[in-house]
């Protein structure tokens, strides 16, 4: 199956589930004649219709590189991002960001580990001072139990 057809199937199933969910929404005001389900049904229906059009019209894919060659780095980065945000609140901004930046520098081609870590540390502290201290966004403190 081509990528466009697969996407069409996913969208069709998605819009069907979306509309099924919408059927459960009932309104309580007298004036609101169409209620809270009409609009989701409308756009869900349009999505389903267009997904069918796409399925029917879709052509062949061109030559495709193997999945891992093409998307390997993106998959790794998505994994790293999940780890980053999972640890962000419990471990704290400073340590997770330092670890994330250092590992990323090494991953993207930095050969000297202390340079990767040093630049990582400088950037982490820079972000901390800019966003937390200067702009007052209060980033998660995590393991450093003391706030300010």
């Amino acid at each position: 199956m081509t990528a466009d057809r697969l996407a069409a199937v996913v969208l069709l199933v998605g819009s069907a589930l979306y509309m099924r969910q919408a059927l459960g929404y009932r309104g309580h005001t007298v004036a609101d004649v169409v209620g809270p389900s009409a609009y989701p049904l409308l756009i869900g229906g349009l999505t389903a219709l267009l997904a069918i059009v796409q399925f029917v019209r879709s052509g062949r894919d061109g030559a495709v590189e193997p999945f891992w060659t093409r998307h390997g780095r993106a998959v790794v980065l998505v994994g790293a991002l999940f780890a980053y945000i999972l640890l962000l609140e419990s471990v704290g901004f400073l340590l997770t960001t330092l670890a994330y930046l250092t590992l990323s520098h090494l991953w993207l081609g930095e050969r000297v580990w202390w340079r990767a870590a040093g630049i990582g540390l400088a950037l982490t502290l820079g972000l901390w001072f800019l966003f937390d201290r200067t702009l007052g966004l209060s980033l998660p403190i995590g393991l450093f139990g003391l706030r300010r």
Binding site: Y25, Y39, L81, H105
Partner: protein
Amino acid sequence: MSEILANLAFGFGVALQPINLLLAFVGAFVGTLIGVLPGIGPVSGIALLLPLIIGLHPASAMIMLTAVYYGTMYGGSTTSILVNVPGEASSVATTFDGYQMSLQGRAGPALAIAAVGSFIAGTISIVALMLFSLPLARWALVFGPAENCALMVLGLSSLSTLAGENLVKALLSTLVGLMLATVGTDLVTGIDRYTFGIPQLLDGIDLVTVAVGLFAISEVLLVVREVGVQRRLLPLQRVWLSLKDFVDSWWAIIRGTVVGFYIGILPAAGATIASFLSYALEKRLAKDPSRFGKGDIRGVAAPESANNAAAVGNMIPMLTLAIPGSSTTAIMMGALLMLNVLPGPQLFTKHPDVVWGLIASMYVSNAVLLILNLPLVGLFVQILKTPERYLYPLIVSVCVIGVYAVGRSRVDLTLMILLGALGYYMRQHDYPLGPAILGLVLGDRMEQTMRQALIISNGNWTTFLTRPISAVILTLAALSLAAPYVISAMRRQPRMVAEDV
């Protein structure tokens, strides 16, 4: 006329307050930085700054965002000329002759004409904006919910038509945005929709989360694949412009301004189309069209003037009708909504300081950028030399901070990553991202106006077609959807404009 002058004086009073002037400077600088950096465009750049504007006065917030927007455009043209990497779609046309000029050692004049052309175009268009927007806003005051709903349908359908190669994919992108907008509490009945028991979703999915995920994260996912590829950076001499270069470019700038402004006002036709069209126009009008693409200065002056004029023109439908014409203006409108300022005809009466402050700040931004960029272009070029292995991880961290700042919740961050993966898929399979953002921004109000119109008509759906203005607007929307098929039928005939581009 005197009314406009009085309003403008009032606007300058707002824009020239020290705090707003400072914000304009900071915005212009940060914007240029964003425009120069590869891997982060104007949409994600402005989206990342949204958490910072909460708490600012709406006029100050808009002044800063406008300056950022302008800055990204200047920055984008700088990289187009120097490294043949357009910072964004609207400066693609600039690469044709801009990079050639750099190769011939004429990077200085190319950068200078881009800055001067943008300045002239921006200034002329701002005058036009003032003349157009007030009457349009007054006229739009009579619009009821049916008309407003129809207008949003027109905005979404025309952006879908123009956004990509494949209309079906563009419409699907729009619909995904509209579906994301239905998440959260329904304002009419108060019931939760599509929240699946997650309390963080009650207020809906935040614009910052979607914009950063869909645009910035997806872009980084895409570019990390190419880290290690060396960019060629050309040496830069002094940025200057001879009188001859200026005289050669003068009419290209003026025509670029007119084309750009006109295209910019049309719903959804933005800076990108304007820059390509004006490039094609100059090439067609030239006595020696063969010089285009080989470093003709008019090939830089025309698209650079046009994209700036279009950016200003784009503000008109956003401010007067609440229909943004591009992803960037959609984000700016999202920012206004975040600050509880509803764009549209009432904006001019309820928040004159926002409107006229913003308009005046466009003049100020233009001047600031001219002062800032001509001497600082060398510094911005140095930034281009930052190794990508340090740059991209840093951009990701800034995205994480920006999205975390919105709701301080892991739900937002998870959504950001998922939307990043979605955007990555969409970018590779020709689904345009702009329509999804516009759908998200307009979705809520489109549903509200649709239901209000139906309440007024007692549930009669034909109200959208029996009210004349609404019927005309919906007909235009239908025409805009049919247009690509008509045009492709016409293309079979020889000699069409697009082939000249």
